[in-house]
Amino acid sequence: MYQYDAFDQRIVEERAQQFRDQVIRRIDGRLGENDFKPLRLQNGLYMQLHAYMMRIAVPYGLLSSRQLRALAEITRKYDRGYGHFTTRQNMQLNWPKLEDIPNILDDLAAVQMHAIQTSGNCIRNITSDPYAGVAADEIADPRPYCELLRQWSTFHPEFAFLPRKFKFAITGATEDRAAIRVHDIGIRLVKNDAGEIGFEYYVGGGQGRTPLVAPCINEFVPELDLVSYSEAVLRTYNRLGRRDNKFKARIKILVKQVGADEFARLVEEEHAQIKDGPLKLTPEDVAQFRRFFRPPIYEVLPDEDPKLQAALLSKDRTFAGWVRNNTAKHRSPGYAIVNLSLKNRDLPPGDVTADQMDAVADLADRYSLGGVTVTHRQNLVFTDVRKSDLPELYESLRDLGFATPNFGKLTDIICCPGLDYCNLANARSISVAQDVQARFDALGKLYDVGDLQLNISGCINACGHHHVGHIGILGIDKQGVEHYQLMLGGSRALDSSLGKILGKALTHDEIGSAVERVVMAYVGFRESDEETFLDCYRRLGPAPFKEAVYEPNQA
């Protein structure tokens, strides 16, 4: 992974010092709350329902075991001994004190971490494919480009005060595991006929109150133009994006208003002026970043491991089920990608205790070359596990509660903190997630329903990505009572679609059973075990599902 040099190190240390000074001025009154707010936001510091909430950047989701142990220590020292992994592959602390934040930043800087631009109207943490570097379907490793863009966007002097927040996602694989088309900028690595790397460049996607799927504005941005082209897009947006209305300020609104073709033309015009300037990359520039992500030296192993085969055939089917569900194909023979499910019912989705973080760090050292990746589904991934180690690793993960074989299944729910923690929320989301998990665990229906993503947001800001869940739930406030809209048919894959509201909003008591009815209806409607929920919904449309939820007795 990327290693800081003296320059990077000095920047995060100076950032900690800068924020320490800002906090001093805030506390002694030289800095008022109105002027402090945008500053603290650019450091990931929100004022929440009960306290400040701090968001720590995990660039493209990559953590070393050393960094994870440092995070565990920070949650013990300054918080309540747990942290929350977010859908942007970051970590949030729910209870830090303002006066402790500078010390937290110092502790983070000591392990090459920070909270820079994790909030505010600036370029946020860049997200990527959690399988980057090891995926079997990868065209090229996206991480060198993520790091290039991280450095370009960090304290970019021109783009610190954009009309609104700005999110990049990059994938290098055929299957989109980074949901690139619901980002302000989504980038997909491609190769042209000559075998040269370039980027399919999507602009103007997003969730929130105006969900939109990003159009492609350039089918092939040459590799060496990545940074200059991005600068052209950002400059165009910074100059033309709306600033009079917060709800119309995202780039998706600009792209929609002027049209994708016209927006592409404006970017092209700007890019023509700067493409041969200092931001034009050279092959040496790219090589400098690629060096950090060279594949490790893998052992030469047979792809089939006898120890694993034996374990798979054992009477206890839970291990085989876990392997089938929670592991994925690795590029190197004899290795596997292992998904750790953080969706057990003891803790809210995405939450991890300090002790669990330490334990995961130890397992990463023992089984996965010392690295852990955070995913946008709020799980963790070990990218480099020998297949022969899977039975042992499974035992350890099961003891930790991270081996629930529900990866990509209905109970692997994406969920925002909701009304329990967030002052924007209209409704609870964690309790809805727990209700659904309980229903499907108890009924043992999990394995029958195939790939099914349930996403829950407590308000229209859509932190729980409800628009792109196969089943999405949105918490709303109806005359002071929390209600939930149920939407079906969303997808975050390359064939992105946005879910449609099924019918009238349901109460907290009703929503869990409504989800159950939708799923049971699907099980009845599907043509074969292979037909996924999304395919089935796309084939039949909403009507039969609506009937199943709202008129169950007639169905």
């Binding site: 040099d5 320059f7 000095r10 920047i11 100076e14 950032r15 800068q18 800002q22 001025r25 030289r30 002027d35 945008p38 500053l39 109207n121 290039l148 450095q151 370009w152 960090t154 304290f155 970019h156 002097p157 021109e158 783009f159 610190a160 005060f161 954009l162 009309p163 940074v227 400059r235 910074n238 100059r239 600033r243 002026q273 300037g277 200092p278 931001l279 050279t282 040496e284 520039d285 400098q288 970043f289």
Partner: protein
Amino acid sequence: MSLIRHEPDAGTRPIEDAWVSLSDGETLPSRDVIVTLERLAQLDGDVPGRLGVVVDGATDPEALAPHLQRLSLIAIELPKFTDGRAYSLARLLRDRYGYTGTLRAVGHVLRDQLFYMWRCGFDEFDLAEGVNVEDAVAAFDDFTITYQPAEDHEQPIWRRRRGG
């Protein structure tokens, strides 16, 4: 209100304002004046002192282009410090239009944005009321390293690392 000037070689210092802002109807005094873009377009021939203009961040630099030769100062007004258009306009004036005169930030100019502003090409800062001058002068030392090519560095960090 205080005015400060930052030059990497000469350092940062409070300065007296040699300029006077003129509203559109006023007659031209024999001193350095800052006028609006409308007035600027009407002024032809010689003016008694140096000439400056005040614009907002939404201004198209193309509208300023014909006047750049005779301008010694461009003031860009920030209605709110979070209005980032001023930063792009400053960079375009410097990088694309080759403007070398004074670039002054006016309006809601606070301490914690000065470093960014300077990197985008501003060199004078008309601080908003209540901003402590000593704090403001220190702002230019916030960072000793930056990543992007900007006013402080011609090359991005990845090339500077290799001694480029």
